[in-house]
């Protein structure tokens, strides 16, 4: 078996790695937006719940939460498919971190612009969607990219719930061929390539939406 064969075998896991990373990143993004948005519209009482969520979920190890969701929930009669289990663990934890990134970025939105929008007669929700979120996301971009990268690096946990991603393929190969060093070297290269492609995609997006005078510092 040549090195190329090893790589070709591992590539069968790439789809799953990408799928897990995109699913969990998207979950994190949506959760982050919802948390920070609801917090901003500040229904009393809700704020405490949202802050508790970010406080607690940032402290739980991904693997522990994944096991709680995937092996724990079925005990109470709820069977969770593997990808959903990833979204509910890695995705939610990423969401808690992204919510914190957003919270900081939201503070950079100029209060005078919000007052101007209120003076025009816009509602709180309209202001949130048309003014605060678009600026916040631009300010938060570097922090968001960081979180997405972290998600990619936690994606190997998906193998523990039976998703045949890259690491799973590598373990199978290693157990049958005993060529661990080459295999994990190839794994490293694959993650590096995926990471660079993700990053390039995100940078393209950032450049497309960049606004002069609003560049993230």
């Amino acid at each position: 078996m040549s090195f190329l064969d090893i790589v070709l075998q591992l590539i069968q896991g790439v789809n799953y790695t990408v799928l897990v990373t995109l699913t969990c990143s998207a979950t994190g993004l949506v959760v982050g937006l919802i948390v920070v948005g609801l917090r901003r519209l500040s229904f009393p009482g809700l704020r405490f719940l949202l802050d508790s969520f970010t406080y607690i979920f940032r402290a739980i190890p991904v693997l522990v939460l994944l096991f709680m969701v995937y092996f724990g929930l079925p005990m109470s009669g709820l069977k969770v498919p593997p990808l959903l289990a990833m979204a509910l663990s890695l995705g939610l934890i990423a969401g808690a971190y992204i919510a914190e990134v957003f919270r900081g970025a939201l503070d950079l939105v100029d209060a005078s612009e919000i007052i101007a929008a209120q003076s025009m007669g816009m509602s709180r929700l309209q202001i949130l969607i048309s003014i605060e979120f678009p600026q916040m996301i631009r300010f938060a971009f570097p922090g968001m990219v960081n979180e997405f990268t972290t998600v990619l690096k936690y994606s190997p946990f998906a193998y523990t719930v039976g998703i045949p991603e890259i690491t799973k393929q590598a373990m199978n190969l290693a157990s049958t061929t005993m060529r661990g060093i080459e295999i994990y070297f190839a794994v490293g290269i694959l993650y590096f390539v995926i990471y660079r492609i993700f990053l390039a995609g995100l940078q393209l997006l950032e450049r497309h939406y960049r606004v002069p005078g609003l560049e993230p510092k």
Binding site: D110, S112, E113, I115, A116, A117, Q118, S119, M120, G121, M122, S123, Q126, S130, I131, P134, Q135, R138, V211, P212, G213, L214
Partner: protein
Amino acid sequence: MALIEINNLVKVFDKQTVLAGVNLSLVEGDVKVVMGPSGCGKSTLLRCLNRLIEPTSGTIIFRGEDITKPEVDVRALRQSIGFVFQQFALYRHLTVLENVTLALRKIRGMSRSEAKEKALHELSRLDMAIHCDKYPSQISGGQKQRVALARALAMDPAVVVFDEPTSALDPIMSREVAMLIKNLHRDNVTIMCVTHDLLLGRYLSERVAFLDHGIIKAEDTFENLCNNHSDPQIRSFFEREASTS
């Protein structure tokens, strides 16, 4: 009949009485200039007009209706009062054009093309149509204030309110903005302008209301306030401003 009539308006923040019974009226098509020392409550007064700040007591009659009442539709009220701020407050992530179209689309429910047409009309009135694709960081302070004005005018407000429109501008740009406001007045737009800038005040109106310690201490021509008023504090306010400008 007055378009706006402010009666005995009081605003207390915590324990600080900022407005202590302001009486002021503004007739349709007129321009009203309000001056006063820093911190005397000018911005607070303006923000009571569109309920950005809730007055403690008193009434504001706007087009025959008391708008301090709780059942007033605040968002509808705000749409009929155009606001222009000292710091311009343009939306930084939107182009000049989008700054003007945003409220037209979100509030007036105009289509993209309708809103664009209306916005370009207002921007070209203020010579800003050629800059419509620029972002706020790419235009000068005076140009920003034009855009802010176009954004307010696009909503066809019953009155345009200016809160120190020139104090973030250099003297030349201040003159330019003063001329714009004057032109607006000539077009029969009703205007209320709060300012430190005596040059602007004099240019816009012969008369001025002087706000101090939460009340309108005097309302008279600049000449009388500067030369003949019995209160030396008022005389010195206008003299001092006159000598520095």
